[in-house]
């Protein structure tokens, strides 16, 4: 079997095992690791953030040490080694093409076949005396414990959802309690997911705004520049407010927004945002808006916000495919209608002047 490269930045040395030299990994995150995490969280070059699959050592493991299984997405790998502290383990990294455990389990790459093949190719039977592997519980949708046992004689024990509970789990006699088993979705979880969504939509938003500015410059009533400054900017502001509400406030306030459907939550926060903007425009600029303008804002912001919040279903941890499909059947047409109404009204407003 080909061992993972010793040249990877988190490898500090190697130890001799019955299988030859095995790379030993660092037990803390270096500045470069943090930087990489931040970069990936912002969606920059995240496709290739991976480590070599195969066997690693943490501390100075021997034939009695536990074997922990993870994916070769560097974020998963990093968070695992950062929470192991002083103990010694073997770490078996499956080849998931740089995708995290949960997504890869759903895809099947973090699956029984890959696990069995790694057990064989890393000769775990010779490496350790016990026949037990600790697999993150979120890998259970890809890995079948009883099939693995049938094929390799290794018993798969599903560890806690969050690797920060791993040591407690092991000290507990490898038993997880209900809290360890349950996937949460806290405000901190959501905060780490927001930047990537936000940046994604801002990119689209910029393109859309450029389009709006050009069109408003061409078809408005006054001189080109006046139009761009007037109606054009007005719409641009609306689009960005919609994005910000849908991609930031929607996810942030998710559990407290009314309704179960994400699109309803997004619609609600979008409406609030539109009303607040109208109010602030009144207060700060003193120029009252026409009904047309007000409706343009309300329609565009709430439909954009509703759509973007609906797309947060993928980042959330409590939605099902059946549910999302059901919601989309009515939500998407309504969002399209809402947005179109806004756009038509915007054009009418511009021509009216």
């Amino acid at each position: 079997m080909r061992h993972p490269s010793l040249k990877q930045p988190f490898v500090i040395s190697s130890i001799q095992s019955v299988l030859g030299p095995v790379p030993v990994v660092n037990n803390f995150m270096t500045f470069a690791d943090w930087l990489g995490t931040a970069r990936v969280r912002c969606g920059i070059k995240r496709e290739n953030y991976m480590v070599d699959p195969g066997l690693y050592a943490f501390g100075s493991p021997d034939s009695e040490s536990e074997i922990l299984v993870t994916s070769n997405y560097k974020l998963s790998f990093d968070s695992l080694r950062a929470c192991l502290k002083e103990k010694s383990f073997w770490i078996l990294v499956l080849d998931t093409q740089g995708i995290n455990v949960w997504c890869a389990a759903g895809k099947g790459t973090f699956g029984t076949a890959e696990l069995v093949s790694k057990i064989m190719s890393c000769s775990l039977h010779r490496l350790v005396k016990h026949r037990c592997l600790i697999v993150p519980q979120l890998g259970a949708s890809g890995i079948s414990a009883y099939e693995t046992r049938e094929k390799t004689d290794f018993k798969v024990i599903f560890g806690p959802v969050d690797c920060r509970n791993l040591l407690e789990f092991i000290n507990n006699g490898k038993k997880s309690n209900e809290a360890m088993r349950t996937k949460t979705f806290t405000i901190a979880d959501r905060l780490t997911l927001i930047p990537i969504e936000l940046l994604h939509y801002i990119k689209i938003g910029c393109f859309l705004c450029l389009l709006v500015l050009i069109i408003s410059g061409l078809i408005g009533s006054g001189t080109d520049l006046e139009n761009v400054k007037g109606e054009g900017l007005f719409i641009v502001f609306g689009i960005f407010s919609g994005i910000l509400t849908g991609a930031f406030w929607g996810p942030m306030l998710l559990p407290w927004l009314p309704g179960r459907a994400f699109s309803v939550k997004g619609l609600f926060i979008g409406l609030i945002c539109a009303l607040l903007l109208l109010l602030s425009r009144h207060v700060f600029y003193g120029n009252p808006w026409s009904w047309n303008e007000a409706l343009v804002w309300i329609f565009t912001i709430s439909s954009v916000s509703s759509y973007i919040t609906l797309n947060f279903t993928g980042s959330s941890t409590y939605t099902s495919l059946s549910g999302v499909k059901k919601e989309m059947r009515w939500a998407i047409p309504l969002q399209i209608i809402g947005f179109s109404c806004g756009m038509v009204l915007a054009l009418v407003t511009i021509f009216d002047k």
């Binding site: 995240r46 290739n48 997911l193 941890t317």
Partner: protein, 111 residues
């Protein structure tokens, strides 16, 4: 903290009590606390919490659990409808390489 639940009555999860031997594996693998043992037999106690991840089905050796698995991700559903492959989906945080579609077991075409 109270469990946050998505839409009601949509999950495709089914438990065949005739096949179930009460081994409790499903209770242990489910990340959403859907199953529990009551009066000696395993039951679905919170169907609406189910996210159709399929962990229970995959690990029930008597095949007593059936569920149509998939990822609850609107982006993935849209991309599938548009015929796109390997796009950013449930992996909005995590990458999804287009050339990594080795053995997709999911119907959604998502990661």
């Amino acid at each position: 903290m109270k469990k946050v639940v998505y839409l009601r009555n949509v999950s495709t999860l089914k438990l065949n009590t005739d096949l179930c031997v009460g081994c409790e594996v499903c209770i242990n693998v489910c990340p959403r606390g859907v199953f529990a043992k009551e009066n000696g037999s395993v039951k679905i106690i919170d169907l609406d919490a189910c996210i159709e991840c399929g962990a229970c089905q995959k690990n029930c050796y008597t095949k007593a659990v059936q569920v149509r698995t998939g990822v609850g991700c609107a982006t993935a559903v849209i991309n599938t409808a548009l015929g796109k492959k390997g796009s950013n989906c449930c992996c909005v945080v995590e990458p999804c390489n287009s050339d990594s579609q080795k053995s997709s077991i999911r119907s959604s075409g998502c990661c």
